[in-house]
Every structure is written in structure tokens, then in C-alpha cells.
């Protein structure tokens, strides 16, 4: 299942159909909308607002091409005297013996592991809730759903103490284990499984003598593909962006993910003390750390749209 054509495979949200939402409005739903209906006032308003969302990122890109003195001496939205992007990148990747590369790899390892685990657990559970009726099923599901209300950060302190007791703070497990729980993922997969797996197909497989697990792995898993990718992406992004959990769990800078590492760099640069060059390093580091995420988001937009749509439409 690749990202190339999820459109034909997103039956989970029949009413919201993100593929349709993606087409230009004139052709959507076959509604006729004459070009003259385009409003100049509305267009100008929206595009002015778009500037608010993009300008900070534009600034970040421009600022990362400047050296430290250009940052102070040139206007933020205009280039400096020298083009220092390359120098900044070299400084970024060589400071503290290549710590930035290590942080990037840590982030990659933590978020990929968590996302795989979370997607697997949520898929199995969501499938179980959607396909089978069993005693206690409804109660357990509402319990899981209700837990979305619990502030994740309120759990972090007791989790830290429990992990400290078990001796696993300051290890990758301390970041990965709590990230495996995705109640929203279970909810999403239940909705998805209920919509995309026809009961008749299951019945037919059973009559053919296939066991329930074989049906799951050989029949259902394929139909669940786009839903799994959505849950995977959500878990990936939330671990990638997590700051609080690794901040309290990890003390060894070699284990830091990008978020904690960058925050530490920023604190060091503000602290000054002859480390002035760090401003441009922090800025370049910020840019480097968001580029892969933005590319992934744009490339896989149908998946996150379908995920958010399921949450919003199905209540």
C-alpha cells in the first residue's frame, strides 16, 4: 500500500470523502460555480491571512542563510551581505562532536518505533472493537475514549517516578513506551474497520475455513491499509514533536531528540558567554528539523485529512 493512490481506498469516511475535499471547489460535487462568483474581497482577505501563516517560515529560511553578524545588521526579510547557509550547516552538524546528527537519528528512531508500535496496537484493538461483539467491549471502549481527556502531561510526572523505580529513565524505552498508547488511534481504527470491511467478506472467509487471525492478517489488514497509515502518521508526528516527555525522562545529551536538543541549544545561545555564533546555529537547526516534517505532511496530506475528518465528522 503506497501513498500514491489512497483516494480509491478511503472508504472509511464516505460522507466526508477527503479525496473530494481535495479537488478544486468548482468541480466538487458536480456543483456548478461560475468563475464570476469568485469574490475579490474574500480572496484578498484570505491571502492576507495566509501571509501571517507563512511569513515566520519565510523569515526562518532567510535567517538561516545569514551569519551571526548579518542577523543583527540586516533586515529580517532581506538577505544579508554574505550567503552563509552552507557555513551554518557545517557548524550545526559539527558542534558538540556532531550532536545534531545524533539528535536527528534519535528522533527518527523514537518516532518510528513508537509509530510502528502504536499503529500495530491501535489497529488490532480497533479491529477487535469493530468486528466482534463481546462482553465488556462497549465499556472498555468508552474507557479508552474517555482517557483522551486526561492531560498527557499530568501523567508524565508519575510515569517518570515509576520508570525511575524500574531503572529505565534515561533510556530510549522511557520515551517510546508511553508513546505507544494512542486512544485516538483506536477510535480511528474502529471507525475505519467498521466502514471498510464488509461483513459478507468475513463470512465468506469463515465459510472457507479461514481462522480469525488468518482473516485478519490476510484479508482485513489489506483493507485497513490507509487507516493504518493515518494512525502511523499521527503517532509519528506526535512523538517527533514531543518535548515534555523526553525532557523529563532523559538526562544524557546523547539520547536527546531534536526538540530537547534544540531547546538546550537555544538556552545556551541566550546564555551568551562567548557562544554568540549559536544564534545562527539554532535558527539553521530549527529549519533543518522542520523540513522533513513539512515535506511529509504535504506529500501525505490525504492521510491526515482523512484522519482529522473521521474525528470531526463521526464525533
Amino acid at each position: 500500500m503506497t501513498a500514491t493512490d489512497p483516494r480509491s481506498q478511503v472508504p472509511a469516511i464516505p460522507s466526508s470523502s477527503p479525496s473530494r475535499a481535495d479537488q478544486p471547489p468548482t468541480s466538487s460535487r458536480g456543483r456548478k460555480r461560475p468563475g464570476s462568483a469568485r469574490s475579490t474581497v474574500l480572496t484578498v482577505t484570505i491571502w492576507t491571512c495566509v501571509a501571517y501563516f507563512l511569513l515566520p517560515l519565510v523569515w526562518l529560511v532567510i535567517a538561516s542563510t545569514k551569519n551571526n553578524s548579518d542577523l543583527f545588521s540586516s533586515f529580517g526579510f532581506w538577505v544579508g551581505r554574505s550567503f552563509s547557509l552552507w557555513d551554518n550547516l557545517v557548524t550545526l552538524f559539527t558542534q558538540q562532536d556532531g550532536a545534531f546528527l545524533l539528535w536527528s537519528l534519535n528522533t527518527l528512531v523514537y518516532s518510528l518505533t513508537s509509530a510502528f508500535g502504536a499503529a500495530f496496537l491501535a489497529t488490532a484493538a480497533g479491529y477487535g472493537f469493530a468486528i466482534y461483539k463481546f462482553p465488556g467491549g462497549k465499556a472498555i471502549f468508552s474507557g479508552i475514549l474517555g482517557s483522551i481527556m486526561i492531560p498527557a502531561t499530568a501523567l508524565a510526572i508519575p510515569t517518570y517516578l515509576l520508570f525511575a523505580g524500574a531503572g529505565i529513565t534515561n533510556t530510549p524505552f522511557a520515551v517510546i513506551l508511553p508513546s505507544l498508547v494512542s486512544p485516538f488511534g483506536v477510535f480511528l481504527m474502529r471507525v475505519y474497520a467498521a466502514d471498510s470491511i464488509p461483513v459478507s467478506l468475513l463470512e465468506a472467509a469463515r465459510i472457507d475455513g479461514a481462522g480469525e487471525y488468518r482473516i485478519f492478517f490476510q484479508v482485513s489488514l489489506r483493507l485497513l491499509g490507509p487507516g493504518i497509515v493515518t494512525v502511523f502518521l499521527f503517532a509519528l508526528v506526535s512523538t517527533w514533536n514531543n518535548y515534555f516527555l523526553p525532557l523529563i525522562m532523559l538526562s544524557d545529551p546523547k539520547l536527546f531528540p531534536l526538540t530537547v536538543g534544540l531547546a538546550q541549544l537555544q538556552a545556551a545561545s541566550e546564555g551568551g558567554g562567548g557562544a554568540e555564533a549559536l544564534f545562527s546555529t539554532v535558527i539553521t537547526g530549527s529549519l533543518v528539523s522542520i523540513v522533513p516534517l513539512i515535506i511529509a505532511f504535504l506529500y501525505l496530506q490525504r492521510y491526515w485529512q482523512s484522519g482529522l475528518a473521521t474525528g470531526g465528522v463521526k464525533e
Partner: protein
């Protein structure tokens, strides 16, 4: 496959199927219990004790909660989050709704690109967003200060005691408008067009249609964004933690209840009190979300 085997499988299968079902949900439930329920219960347990250098750990019933309810640092933090709730959340959701309606109306040129551009900030990690805005606000090389200086004006201190809450609200708004807009936009797209084709033929304008047909139809999506925003704003941590470096006096140790709990646990080493604060915060979030849900339901019933 003979008929008898099929019947056999079906007959004895209810109990077996239950076991299969449990086995599907079991892995998640185990991790859920271990990573969510156990810490929650442990936190509740911790919050009932007090640890002192002399005398060790003592059971003090609800003394930590009593202390929190009279702790001006905690109460001010909750008050600040309440301010978020009444200012930042409505502004953010209002704008998200406006964008969603505008992009859905088909009256905007380049709507597809605009939608992506509005969403892109959500792909930026909260830490990086806070860091970047910190620089944008800054008086050293922030473009806002530069623009003021260029015009011959004194640049404002955007991170002063009075301004820092607005500065934080702006960062959160920038990050989350797109996320909420996508939820609302998806809900708008799911409204069957027949619902308002008739109104259009009757000559109802876009604003009228949006107000009387579109907004009521996406009520459940709106409620979802409200609940998520409540949970999110009460949990504020990344932004004040990062801005603290730039404006230590304006942020302090207790800008948000979460930051306060963090500092209590890891700077003051008072985990018992920190647990009580975190628990109380969760309680506040649950109550506010519940009240919001209830009032929305009542309004829906009255409208029906």
C-alpha cells in the same frame, strides 16, 4: 468443506470468538493500563502524602489539595489558562471557522494552496514554533523590532510582563488554526449540497446559508474542536518553557499550571505536591470539557 463443519464452527464459536476478540484488544489494553491507568492511580496515591526531610513520608489526606486551592501561584496559573480559554480559544476557532467557510464557499482564488499554507504551521513542532517566534519577537534581530526602528519608533517589548501572555496566545493560535480549520472544513464538505441548494434558489446569500445551514450542520465537529482546544490550552507547557529563557521574569516558574507542576517536581523535588497540582489540573479540564459538552447538547436539543 462440508456443511457439518461449518455448523460445528458456528455452533461452538461464540465463546471462542470472544476469546479471539479479547486477544485482539489485549495488547493495547495492557499497554493502556500500564502507561495510563497505573500512572494515574499512582499520581492520586502520591498526592495524598507529604515528604519531609525530617520524618520522611506521611499520609496527609487531602492537605496537598487544600494547599493548592490556596496557592496563589497555582490559582494565577489556572486563571491565566482561563483567560486563554475566553480569549485565545474563541479567536482561534472563530478564525478557523471563517477560513473553513471561506474556502468551502468556492469564492476564493487559489483556495487549495491557501488551505495548505494555513495548515503548514501545524507541521512545525511546538518547540520550534516557540523558538522561532521568540526570535521574531526579540529586540536583537526580530523583524518586528527592526520595522519599528526603521520607522523611527521605539520598538515595543513584546515579551514584557504585560505582553507575554498575548505573545504566547499568538504562537498557539498560529500553530493550531490550521488543524482546527481542517477538521471543520472536512465536516463542511460532508454536508449534502441538497441541504442548501434550495436555500440558494430561494435567494439566500452565502452568509445566511453559512449561519443557518452550514454552521448548525457541523455542530459536532465544532464541539470536537472546542474540547480539544480546552484540553490543549490548559496543558500549555512548551511555549512558556521556551520563552522562559528569553523572558525569565515575565514567565516565572508558574506561568501555566503544567509548568508549575514541572518546576515543583524537578526543581523543588516536591513530587507529592506536583502530583496534586497535576491531578487537580486534570480535574479542571474534565469538568470544563464536560460542562461544554453538556451545554452543547442542551442547545442542540432546544434547537431540535
Amino acid at each position: 468443506m462440508s456443511v457439518t463443519t461449518v455448523r460445528h464452527v458456528r455452533h461452538g464459536s461464540k465463546q471462542k470468538q470472544n476469546l479471539v476478540a479479547y486477544s485482539f484488544i489485549l495488547p493495547f489494553v495492557i499497554v493502556f493500563l500500564a502507561m495510563l491507568l497505573v500512572p494515574l492511580v499512582y499520581s492520586a496515591y502520591l498526592s495524598l502524602f507529604r515528604t519531609q526531610l525530617v520524618g520522611g513520608r506521611n499520609f496527609v489526606w487531602f492537605a496537598n489539595y487544600g494547599r493548592a486551592l490556596t496557592d496563589s501561584l497555582f490559582l494565577t496559573g489556572v486563571g491565566r489558562m482561563a483567560l486563554f480559554l475566553v480569549i485565545q480559544v474563541p479567536v482561534m476557532l472563530g478564525l478557523a471557522l471563517f477560513f473553513a467557510l471561506a474556502l468551502d464557499s468556492g469564492h476564493v482564488r487559489g483556495a487549495r494552496f491557501a488551505r495548505l499554507a494555513i495548515f503548514v504551521p501545524h507541521a512545525v513542532p511546538g518547540v520550534v514554533a516557540a523558538l522561532m517566534w521568540g526570535y521574531l519577537y526579540g529586540k536583537n534581530f526580530g523583524p518586528i523590532a527592526q520595522a519599528f526602528t526603521a520607522l523611527g519608533l521605539r520598538p515595543p517589548n513584546l515579551l514584557s510582563n504585560g505582553n507575554v501572555i498575548g505573545a504566547t496566545m499568538n504562537i498557539v493560535t498560529w500553530e493550531w488554526i490550521g488543524y482546527n480549520m481542517v477538521i471543520l472544513y472536512a465536516a463542511l464538505r460532508s454536508i449534502p449540497p441538497e441541504l442548501y441548494e434550495a436555500a440558494r434558489i430561494d435567494g439566500a446569500g452565502q452568509i445566511r446559508i453559512a449561519w443557518s445551514i452550514k454552521i448548525p450542520s457541523i455542530r459536532s465537529a465544532l464541539l470536537l474542536t472546542v474540547i480539544f482546544s480546552i484540553i490543549g490550552s490548559f496543558q500549555l507547557f512548551n511555549e512558556p518553557k521556551l520563552l522562559y529563557v528569553l523572558a525569565p521574569n515575565a514567565i516565572g516558574s508558574s506561568f501555566s499550571p503544567n509548568l508549575y507542576a514541572y518546576n515543583l517536581a524537578f526543581t523543588n523535588q516536591d513530587v507529592n505536591y506536583a502530583a496534586a497540582i497535576a491531578f487537580l489540573l486534570g480535574f479542571v479540564i474534565m469538568i470544563v470539557s464536560y460542562v461544554m459538552q453538556l451545554s452543547a447538547e442542551r442547545r442542540a436539543r432546544r434547537a431540535a
